[in-house]
């Protein structure tokens, strides 16, 4: 459905020196600088997949999405979406996709929501009967009815985002690009949006490409995860398989009564003797021990700490995607 082969994107920026002197100098001689936003990435997407596309700010997520929607032209490599090259046939491609940018709206600010939907119906040339069914379905799914007659400017962020999602789905696109669709939303609205995305995917086999910084979005929705870092895809595979690739790391939090530098060192030494990648962190009045459970068991660490410290409380955290991603962002795994 989507084929991305060896795509790179280089931005040309003009470097400016600081201050007035630099500005004047810039008038005569501008130094070019090339930034590789995306480096030789390849992936294929099948119909009905929900891809969680994650990466730190500036890692190249949005650039990839913009290339797939036809807004940006790749510097090299090829992209094909449903048999169409997006940047060459932008309008053709646009008819088959729905896009939601969480930071921006595609609704007309001063018009009642209902009017926006009517306009979109005309733009995408949706037949009356098909529109009717679709419209009623989406209104119901996203619970839009209560504010359908209000001008968009009076909607809350949560209402607006639901409306934006409905607007992106009105013309029954085959692919839905969601760029941070849950940004700034409360838990309830997030939940509703996720439920809607899931249902649209299951009912209509809509392919979804989702970028987000909220790992629970990924946890609940994605069937496959792609992680991009500094323009390169460093992981591409099933959500469940991510743990295998990046080790079975867990985190043990201990609340202890008092600290003793030497004892912490001893504990650190003990854990490290089994797993050299482990880490013991001191945080206010608790200890955080991050370790690979294939190399050292929880019981071993616990019994050691129990003897050395007066442990008031402890909790054991599973390695979740968030932790993996955090480590990836920090350059912990590469």
């Amino acid at each position: 459905m989507i084929k991305v082969n060896n795509v790179s994107k280089t931005f040309k920026v003009y470097k400016k020196d600081d201050g007035l002197k630099g500005a004047v100098k810039g008038l005569f001689k501008r130094e070019k600088e090339y930034i590789e936003a995306v480096k030789d990435i390849s992936f294929h997407v099948k119909k009905g997949e929900i891809i969680g596309y994650i990466g730190a700010n500036g890692a190249g997520k949005s650039t990839t999405i913009k290339m797939m929607t036809g807004v940006l032209t790749p510097t090299s490599g090829s992209i094909e979406v449903c048999g169409v090259v997006p940047h060459k046939n932008r309008i053709e491609n646009a008819k088959r996709i729905g896009v939601v940018f969480g930071q921006r709206t595609q609704l007309w600010w001063d018009l009642p929501l209902k009017e926006t939907f009517t306009i979109l119906k005309e733009i995408y040339e949706v037949e009356d009967s098909a529109f009717e069914t679709r419209y009623n379905y989406l209104i119901d799914l996203l619970e839009i009815e209560p504010f359908i007659k209000q001008p968009v400017r009076t909607l809350s962020l949560g209402q607006r985002m639901r409306a934006d999602l409905a607007a992106a789905m009105l013309h029954s696109p085959e692919i839905l690009y969601l760029d941070e669709p849950t940004i700034g939303l409360d838990v309830m609205v997030k939940e509703r949006i996720r439920k809607a995305i899931k249902e649209l995917n299951q009912k209509f086999q809509v392919t979804v490409i989702l970028t987000t910084h909220d790992m629970s979005d990924i946890q609940e929705l994605a069937t496959r995860i792609m992680i991009i870092e500094k323009g390169e895809i460093i992981y591409d595979g099933a959500k469940e398989a991510i743990n295998n690739q990046f080790g079975n790391t867990r985190q043990l939090d201990l609340k202890v009564e008092s600290f003793d530098e030497s004892r912490i060192k001893a504990l650190d030494f003990f854990v490290k003797s089994h797993d050299e990648t482990s880490n013991v962190l001191v945080d206010e009045n608790s200890l955080k021990i991050i370790f690979d459970q294939d190399k050292i068991s929880v019981a071993e660490i616990l019994s050691k700490s129990m003897t050395d410290f007066k442990v008031l409380d402890f909790s054991l955290q599973d390695q979740n995607i968030e932790e993996i991603v955090k480590k990836l962002y920090q350059g912990g795994i590469s």
Partner: protein, 265 residues
């Protein structure tokens, strides 16, 4: 054609709906414009009553009043924010929201602008044309030719604004230069005073610029100042400018799109 109407007409409608969404503001707008017209009216009244001549540069007082009112209307219709819309879309990156939809950006903005033109037509141009017809200041043929010429004048204004708006890619402070542009267009298009008031040498320069086709030409047609060959000539002049400006737009837009697609939103 049908597709054009179906796809882009909603934008025209949307502009009108947006104007009507703030009825108070629309009324204030009309009020402000009326005051502006009265100020200019009194200036000309003083000029006509203080001199001995009843006809100045070929304009009777009544014709001058027609000119003032129409030029206000036409000037508003032309100078309606296309530049700011484009500049805003480019600066804020909202142009991307347009590029993810199966629509042409030029046509979208044109129809959005035409929505405003329709508004101006209903509050100024149509009622006033009717009044002028009743008072026998013009005739039906002239009004019809005027409306045709007005439409072309608006196209010229739109295409010019579009080119100007795309300068936002290169100039950060388009506001300052934008106000300068507005003043210049007002002066050179005949939006301020009829162009016949300029010295011959200046008029010769104006003749080879596109601004005349925006305001002066349609109103002179309304007043029945052109006839026969002259009429054909001014229409051809408008058509020519439309073609030239479409050409320039095409070139600038190709570069601009590359800019967007190369630099990102």
């Amino acid at each position: 054609m049908r597709k054009l109407k179906r796809t882009y007409f909603p934008f025209l409608r949307a502009t009108i709906q947006e104007i009507l969404a703030y009825p108070g503001e629309a009324l204030l707008y009309i009020f402000g414009m009326t005051i502006g017209m009265f100020v200019v009216y009194y200036i000309w009244k003083v000029i006509y009553t203080s001199g001995t001549a009843n006809v100045i540069e070929g304009f009777t007082f009544n014709e001058m009043i027609v000119y003032i009112i129409l030029s206000f209307g036409v000037m508003q219709a032309i100078n309606n924010g296309t530049v700011w819309n484009i500049a805003h879309d480019i600066r804020e990156g909202t142009i991307i929201m347009n590029m993810i939809k199966p629509i042409n950006y030029h046509l979208r903005l044109l129809f959005q602008e035409l929505g405003f033109v329709v508004f101006i037509c209903f509050i100024v141009i149509f009622p006033f044309s009717l009044i002028a017809l009743v008072l026998k200041l013009t005739n039906v043929t002239n009004v019809i030719l005027f409306l045709l010429s007005l439409f072309m004048g608006i196209l010229v204004g739109f295409l010019f604004d579009f080119i100007f708006g795309m300068m936002a890619f290169y100039i950060k402070n388009i506001f300052g230069i934008g106000f300068g542009k507005t003043a210049l267009v007002r002066l050179l298009s005949g939006g301020l005073i009829p162009l016949v008031f300029f010295p011959d040498s200046v008029q010769k320069i104006i003749d080879v610029l596109p601004f005349k086709a925006m305001v002066f030409t349609p109103i002179m047609i309304f007043l029945g100042k052109y006839s026969g060959q002259e009429l054909i000539y001014v229409f051809l002049n408008q058509v020519l400018w439309i073609i030239i400006l479409i050409g320039i737009n095409y070139i600038v837009w190709q570069r601009a799109v590359k800019h967007i697609t190369v630099q990102g939103g």
